[in-house]
Structure formats: structure tokens, C-alpha cells
Amino acid sequence: MTASHDALDLLLALRPEDLDADELAAPIDAEHRAREEEADLALAGLIDAWRAEDLGAPSFSAADILARANEPVPLSPVSIDGSLAHSGEQERPTSPDMGHAGPTTGGSVPSWLVPVALAASIAAAAFGVWRMSAPTLLEEEGMRPKSLVSDVDASRVDLQFAVERADGTMIPGRNGAAYGPDASVAFRFDVQGEAGWVALLEVDSDGEWQMLYPMDGAPLEVEPGAHALASESGAPLVYRPDDPEAGTLEYVAVLLTEPVDPARVVPGLLSAGLHRADLWPRPVAAVDAVTVTWEQR
């Protein structure tokens, strides 16, 4: 295909407002252009007919959606600043800037996971456990998938987690393990190679995903080394299942080369597949994933 054909293909495919000045001014052989335009005419008619097809219309209303949303969902206490909120009736958040510092609090948090506050001593214990044994334990078990790395960047991210059981004891998280529904979990990223930005998402068995961190705003900027997921105030972010039937979930750490909104690259990443580094959206440098099964209540 010549450069002239490339330019012509763009001219035939795109509306004028989507073409830049160079594309509009590209030199194209007039005879060739006329021939291709004629051939494209029939296709244009087909596309018009395809677009005009009557495909029917949905019959639901907004009230139906809101009724579904109001079906009772058990909630866990919610807070990131130390105090435990009460479960039950939720309040709709009114502050437009809420949630910029990480997982948000209150409101109808869609995730089955909501952040809960743990005492600093418990969190410190969790990090202590990590430092002492978590990486070794995970490697010895051989259950952990290797961090997946983009071809264009040699950086790696290693996702680790610690679990607080219902009885208050802290244990290093194990990939593929099952935990009780009353357990809580905290995450840590271990970044190797270049500095970058990290985000954490959750993918369920149906492929549905949601961002655990950040809920809004920029991902966490990290230098090479280990970083516990924490709020801006430095308090560790700890999550608890909010759905009695959460089942098996995958947690995916994403290392980005740019501080883009992770939510904008996740669809492309998941569409490509976590194992297809060659198809990932450009800012994604590495991913790592762990799987956890939450036992039902």
C-alpha cells in the first residue's frame, strides 16, 4: 500500500471534521481517487441502510434501574479516617471532591469491597508480617503467577497482600487461598525497574471490574521498592468484603508509565487480556494478579 493509498483510505473512511490539515491536503492521484470513490459509493449506501435499521427500543425506565439499585445490599462499616461508620441506610455523598485520596467512604459504594479502618497497630503488624515472610512464602508455594511485563518496559510490579482474620490475627495473603467473609485485606506493591504509577483493580469471575485504587484521580506514584497502599494521610487502606456471595475475585496491580486515569486504560488492558502484553494500551508497563476466594456468610 502506498502513502497515497493510505491517505485516500482515510479520506474515504472519515468525516472531514475528523481529518487533520495534513490528511486533507495529502497528494492523491486523481484517477485512482475517482475509481476508489466510485467503489466506495455502494458501501456508503450499505452503511447508511445498516445505520437506519430499526433495531427496536428498550422498554425500561430510570425508575426500573433505581428500583434495582435500591434492592437491599448488606454493608460493612465504612471509613478511611479511623472511625467506623455504621452499616445500614447509606447517605448519598454530596461533596464533589470526595474520594480523591483513594477508596471513598460512605455512599453507595458499588464494590463488594469497602475500606475499613484498622487500628494502626494492626496495620503495622500486617506490614511486619509482610517484611518477614510474605514474599518467601508466596514463592515457595509456587502458586503466584509471575508479574507480566510489557515488551516496551522492563519494569515489574509485584502485588502482595496481608489478611486480618476475624479473630484479629494477621497473616500474609496467599494467592489462590480462601478466606472467611469477615476477613480484611491490605495491599502492597513491590515495584522493580523504573518509577511509575500504580493502580489496583478487582475483576470478578464474570469479567466485571472496578477500580479499588484510585477511586478517582491520579494513580499512586511510586519509586522502585515496596509501597503499602495508603491514603494521603498515610493511613493504610484496608478492604473488607461487602457481599456475602463475593466468591472468587482477582486483584490486579497495574504499573503505568504515565500518570493517566487508570480507568481509561483498564478496558483496553482487560480487552487485550492480562497475558497479552503486546496488546496492552501504551501506558501499561506491567501487571500482576492474585486470586482470592471469599467464603460465603
Binding site: L46, F60, P110
Partner: protein, 211 residues
């Protein structure tokens, strides 16, 4: 007028038709802040488009309706975190496409339109232009089948650009690619379809319609 009256007036909410004059982003912010009626306007504004988008992803009526409802449910549930940093419509299409991709992965046949064909069956009719209508529908079916042979990412770009009328920049944002990549996918798809359909598209004379 007292200060109290002034405050009361300033907190009056827009209702009814006044809401329909608000932008998507304004409606979503107001919905996030708990104002009634805003979500209704957004649903009515977009449910048909999202439904059509999902239908053209290959879902039958019932499944497309279900996925459309799921899309709005997700948007509603995410409302507390909504920030108008991006265009609402591209966000909505992104959510819808994700729902479609997840559902598509679970389908035994990837494209119901192409595989089943029941969606395209033509009802017997005695209308005078029945033959012409039949030919037109078969031509569209040819296009649909060729579309189904394109890579999935190209199909979605084609659907968003030509059927939904989005810009290249919007298509790129929804697909998580660059505008240049979106342009390339569209140009490639259109050229491929032009080549594959050459000679297959019937002329205006219905007697030449492929049987």
C-alpha cells in the same frame, strides 16, 4: 425578601423540561448530589443509543436490553464517585462496551446476528415494494456478515463511528487507543469491506439480488 427567602429560592431545583436543557455532565453531577429527575433524563437521552450499540455488537433484543439496563445501573452506582473530567457519553459507552465484551466472552456463538440469522428473517409481505425491501435487507445482511469477520476491536470502532456517529477522538477514548489508531482501524475496516463486498452488493434491480 428575607435572607431566608433568598436561600430558599437559591435551592429550588430544576424540574421537568428545564432538566432536559442541562448537559450530560451537569445532569450527572446533580444526580450524584441527589437531585431527583436528573438520572431519568440521562436514561431517556441515551438508552436508545446504548441499546442500538449493543444490538450491533451482536446481541438479541432481550440481551441488549438487559445489558443496557446493567450499564445504567453501573453508572448510577458509580455516581458518588463521578467527576466531570471526561465527556459523560464516552464514559457511558465505555461502560456499555465493557458490559458487552464481558457478555460476548460468555456467548457460545460470538455473533448472534451472523450465526443465528433469525434476527434477519423477513416476514412474508404482499407490499408492492417487497422485493426491493428484501434485496435491501439482504444487502445489509451481507455487510453485517462481513463486519462480523473483522477483528472485534475494528467492529467496535466501526459501530461507534458509523452507527453511533461519534468522533474519532471519542472512539479512541472509549477503546483506550490513540486517535491515530482509531483512524487506522476505521480506514482499514472500510477498505477491507469495500474489497470484500465488491461485486457482492446487488444493484438497484431486485432481480439481481443474491438468493
Amino acid at each position: 425578601m428575607t435572607d431566608s427567602d433568598s436561600r430558599a429560592r437559591s435551592h429550588l431545583r430544576l424540574v421537568g423540561s428545564a432538566l432536559t436543557r442541562l448537559t450530560d455532565e451537569e445532569l450527572m453531577e446533580r444526580h450524584r448530589d441527589g437531585e431527583a429527575g436528573c438520572f431519568d433524563v440521562l436514561v431517556e437521552r441515551y438508552k436508545g443509543r446504548i441499546f442500538a450499540f449493543l444490538r450491533r455488537m451482536g446481541f438479541n433484543h432481550a440481551r441488549a436490553e438487559e445489558l443496557t439496563a446493567d450499564t445504567f445501573l453501573k453508572v448510577h452506582r458509580a455516581a458518588p464517585r463521578y467527576q466531570p473530567s471526561a465527556k459523560f457519553s464516552t464514559y457511558l459507552y465505555t461502560v456499555a462496551r465493557r458490559a458487552g465484551l464481558n457478555a460476548r466472552d460468555r456467548m457460545s456463538t460470538r455473533y448472534e446476528f451472523a450465526a443465528g440469522g433469525t434476527e434477519l428473517e423477513v416476514e412474508p409481505t404482499r407490499a408492492p415494494d417487497a422485493e426491493r425491501q428484501l434485496a435491501a435487507r439482504r444487502s445489509v445482511e451481507l455487510l453485517r456478515r462481513e463486519l462480523a469477520r473483522l477483528p472485534a476491536e475494528h467492529q467496535d470502532a466501526f459501530n461507534l463511528y458509523y452507527a453511533q456517529g461519534l468522533s474519532c477522538a471519542e472512539v479512541a477514548e472509549i477503546l483506550g487507543i490513540t486517535a491515530a489508531e482509531a483512524k487506522g482501524r476505521l480506514a482499514y475496516s472500510r477498505k477491507l469491506l469495500r474489497q470484500r463486498l465488491a461485486g457482492l452488493v446487488p444493484e438497484a434491480d431486485p432481480s439481481e439480488t443474491p438468493r
